[in-house]
């Protein structure tokens, strides 16, 4: 037994220390704020109203520079997400256009998007995006919360964390903005959110922190639309395994009873 205990303790030490080193990899920045999200924990589910508001913030503010190429409009109506109605999703999709196929003369044809189409990226290429943004590339947001350590809290902290006054000992390029949550503190994205910038359809007051919260929530769902399915399947699988474990435990005990 001694050997097993020692090994378990030491291995858990390695896991824990690794997790630490990963979160430290972002560079010198403030520790993320933790506003608390409903999807956290093994039974967590997304707050649908917040996801809907988050989509509104994304489409009205973020989408002018950031694409979300991994998402299709149909995702917006699927279970475990914002769960817009299918008609609403058709309406949303139809606001965007796509070049699709060619007509009888071989000329490209443009049509309105349908739910099975992907989200439209604001720029045709990375170079075009850079050219329009002072040389900085606004990253695609499909996976942003998974591509950053503690992603959801990081996005929330970053968006709500722009500060007008910066400490005297820091100097940054005029084209950049000061944000203590960004690694290196100088970020190419100017403060994107201001109070009442968005008029929420459900009447919620659009403060900077509310919008940051909703959009961080939305981006977390977007990074992994199957999260609710994953967690609920996990309960079933682990429940089954625990029952199986108990049966196996007594089987082993019984079997080895007369092995001396």
């Amino acid at each position: 037994m001694r050997l097993s205990k020692i090994i378990i303790i030491l291995f858990s030490f390695v896991f824990i220390s690794n997790a630490d080193s990963l979160s430290a990899a972002g560079g010198e920045a403030y520790k993320n704020l933790k506003p608390g999200f409903s999807f956290e924990g093994p039974f967590g589910k997304f707050d649908r109203e917040s996801l809907k508001r988050g989509y509104q913030v994304y489409s009205e503010v973020c989408a002018s520079c950031h694409g979300m190429k991994q998402l299709s409009f149909r995702n917006l109506s699927q279970p475990g997400g914002p769960e817009f109605s299918i008609d609403k999703v058709k309406e949303i999709a139809a606001e965007y256009f796509i070049m699709d196929g060619a007509d009888e003369y071989g000329d490209p044809v443009e049509r309105a998007r349908i739910p099975s189409d992907r989200f439209q990226s604001p720029f045709d290429s990375k170079d075009a995006a850079k050219a329009a943004n002072n040389g900085a590339y606004p990253p695609d947001l499909s996976l942003i919360t998974k591509a950053r350590s503690d992603g959801t809290n990081y996005i929330y902290s970053l968006l709500s964390g722009y500060e007008e006054t910066m400490p005297d000992n820091i100097t940054i390029d005029d084209a950049l903005s000061y944000n203590p949550w960004f690694p290196g503190n100088a970020i190419a994205m100017a403060q994107p959110l201001y109070d009442e910038m968005v008029e929420y359809t459900d009447g919620t007051e659009a403060t900077i922190s509310q919008m940051s919260y909703d959009v961080a929530n939305f981006l977390t769902w977007a990074a992994e639309p199957s999260m609710e399915e994953r967690k609920s399947l996990g309960i079933i699988v682990m429940g089954f395994l625990i029952i199986f474990l108990i049966l196996m435990f007594f089987s082993v005990r019984r079997l080895f009873e007369d092995v001396h």
């Binding site: 050997l3 097993s4 020692i6 090994i7 030491l10 291995f11 030490f13 390695v14 896991f15 220390s17 690794n18 997790a19 080193s21 990963l22 990899a25 972002g26 560079g27 093994p42 190429k69 991994q70 995702n75 990253p139 499909s142 996976l143 998974k146 591509a147 950053r148 350590s149 992603g151 690694p183 990074a223 992994e224 639309p225 199957s226 399915e229 994953r230 967690k231 399947l233 996990g234 699988v237 682990m238 395994l241 625990i242 199986f244 474990l245 196996m248 435990f249 089987s251 082993v252 079997l255 080895f256 092995v259």
Partner: protein, 420 residues
């Protein structure tokens, strides 16, 4: 116990089959009535667990390959396609990605068990060597699999590791070009890594069969390290160890499930959710956790070629274990001095794992060097010296006989007993 029974075909068909291809007899002898020491502890369940790990990786991998596109422009998106559009694709991919970590966790425990109980000693040298071959193949396979994701860490990890080849004098550059299919990590690299990542698991599977074959020739070692003498020392594999192994596997699956369903990305690096970009280097390039000890050894040496040699040497040295440690007593249970060095070695390996994730500077670099020196000293200095001078503590006469053996004719006690 009841393992003395011999397989007798019961009906016409099985009798007919038994004369031509004794498949059922083979299964009976190797999986059901196989005589197994009765005192095996839970550390002996990892062979079974590892076999299932390999099967899991192969099955999930085959399904993933049906939906994956090995092209630099599409690889990353095709994985997101699996995660988002394929039915239960997220589940299959998370099983495969975390399964690799679980596979390594199990193989580390399996190897440290062998090291503790002297499972590599006579007559199990070939068994151990085959195990090291499997381990080496696993490392190569896992590394290539990680590249297929085509995230930032995939790309830069591949760049760093393949460039190690270039340190080989004279032919290094040519081998590197051949390995990459060009002058940098690019589409040809991804293509050949995909091809090899699909091939190697089947090679592993083949070596696993040899590994199990070798095991069934010598029989299991056991926690006392004392050879099995007669049928009083053994029980049949089934039902005793099928059930015990299955119990251990369920415990293992519970931990595995935690990662799959509740923390699927904790063992990976967030940067690998950013598509590979040859123009942007990540702040820290780190391999997957299970390769960190070797990465730490690599970076502990100021000279690049020496670092590469030591890193490979850290695995190659394992091949020679049976001849470095010639002490007849197998189990560390009866080797008080070896035990101390063994646990120091264990701590040292875990520390190397931690250090591999840190920047190679200051105290981290210093500790990496100390641990690297100890890693090799343990095999090359401690083992041969202890083999010569260590005095084992008193041992029981046999697995079934706890009386202390006063006759110090160890050879007699530990000699292989042939086929039981």
């Amino acid at each position: 116990m009841n393992h003395d029974h011999e397989y007798t075909p019961s009906n016409g068909f099985t009798k007919w089959l038994d004369k031509r291809l004794p498949l059922i007899r083979f299964a009976d002898e190797n999986m059901l009535s196989f005589p197994t020491p009765k005192n095996l502890n839970y550390f002996w369940t990892f062979g079974f667990i590892l076999t299932l790990c390999l099967v899991t990786q192969i099955i999930t991998g085959i399904v993933l390959a049906m939906h994956y596109t090995p092209h630099v422009l599409m690889a990353f998106d095709s994985i997101e396609h699996i995660m988002r559009d394929v039915n239960y694709g997220w589940l299959i991919r998370y099983i495969h990605a975390n399964g690799a970590s679980m596979f390594f966790l199990a193989v580390f425990i399996h190897m440290f068990r062998g090291l503790y109980y002297g499972s590599y000693k006579e007559p199990r040298e070939i068994l151990w060597i085959l195990g090291v071959v499997i381990f080496l193949l696993m490392i190569i396979t896992a590394f290539m699999g990680y590249v297929l994701v085509w995230g930032q860490m995939s790309f830069w990890g591949a760049t760093v590791i393949t460039n190690l080849v270039a340190t080989i004098p004279v032919v290094g550059e040519s081998i590197l070009t051949l390995l990459l299919g060009g002058f940098s990590v690019d589409n040809p690299t991804l293509n050949r890594f995909f091809s090899l990542h699909y091939l190697l698991p089947f090679v592993i599977f083949g070596v696993v069969i040899l590994h199990i074959w070798a095991l069934h020739v010598t029989g299991n070692n056991n926690p006392t390290g004392i050879s099995v003498k007669d049928s009083n020392d053994t029980i049949s594999f089934h039902p005793y160890y099928t059930v015990k192994d299955l119990f251990a596997y369920v415990v293992f699956l519970l931990m595995f499930s935690y990662f799959i369903f509740y923390n699927p990305n904790i063992l990976g690096h967030p940067d690998n959710y950013i598509e590979a970009d040859p123009m942007v280097t990540p702040a820290h390039i780190v391999p997957e956790w299970y390769l960190l000890p070797f990465y730490a050894i690599l970076r502990a040496v100021p000279d690049k070629l020496m670092g590469v040699l030591l890193m490979f040497g850290s695995i190659v040295v394992l091949f020679f274990l049976p001849w470095l440690d010639t002490m007849k007593v197998r189990s560390a249970r009866y080797r008080p001095t070896y035990k101390i060095f063994y646990f120091t070695f264990l701590v040292c390996c875990l520390l190397l794992g931690y250090l591999g994730g840190q920047a190679p500077e200051g105290i981290y670099l210093f500790l990496s060097r100390v641990c690297t020196i100890y890693y090799f000293a343990f095999f090359l200095v401690v083992m041969p010296i202890l083999s010569k001078y260590e005095r084992p503590s008193p041992m029981p006469i046999g697995i079934s006989n706890p009386a202390i053996n006063n006759n110090l004719e160890m050879d007699d006690n530990l000699a292989p007993s042939g086929n039981n």
